[in-house]
Symmetry: C2
Subunit: 116 residues, 2 copies
């Protein structure tokens, strides 16, 4: 599959030791700001808090695809996905999320999405 066929860049990012793992308002703000920093347009944001553990699950739907977040505070883990097509730059969103949540450990993976 050639470089010309890539339709979107999808960053998978896993954080440990991050701030705000149960803070729905902070997480919503962070997702909206990350999208803006990447040059993306937010269509809709939906977040849900779990009563059982305080974890947050949510998605920012973008004109350029999505940013998702799922946190497991009892495991000290936040999972982000940043999937963007067009001219938006998911790396800038990830950089912003790292500055905001200040994780102690981060793993990231870039998946180039394309029609098979």
């Amino acid at each position: 599959m050639g470089k010309n066929n890539i339709i979107g860049k999808h960053l998978i990012a896993d954080f440990s030791g991050a701030a705000y793992q149960t803070d729905r308002e902070k997480i919503e703000y962070a997702m909206r700001s990350a999208a803006t920093h990447a040059g993306a347009t937010v269509l809709n944001v939906k977040l849900h808090s779990f009563a059982s553990n305080g974890g947050i699950t949510g998605v920012a739907l973008l004109a350029e695809s999505h940013i998702s977040v799922h946190s497991w505070p009892e495991l000290d883990y936040i999972a982000f996905d940043i999937f963007m097509c067009g001219k938006a730059e998911p790396e800038l969103a990830l950089q912003w999320l790292k500055e905001f949540f200040k994780p102690v450990r981060v793993t990231t993976q870039l998946i180039e999405r394309a029609a098979p």
Copy 2:
């Protein structure tokens, strides 16, 4: 990272030659059914149609994480993500999506998500 640390299974699936690339109702039905087939619980579904090309972008937020869809009908491409934790089985959701959309070509990738 040991197998014991895996928190969620994340299936990345790219379809070409699939049905219903611009059909919002069919896509919503498919996402809800796929979640049910996987043993997951849907919290919320949000879909958006693009006037420019008829493409659909959307997410089903699950108690177990999410299913997302983004279609580019002009490129004959639908991108799915199926991310599920706990006892839900994302492979069953993907199998159901393949039966429903009948893609001509499919590529899939499994990412085991875990705290770093």
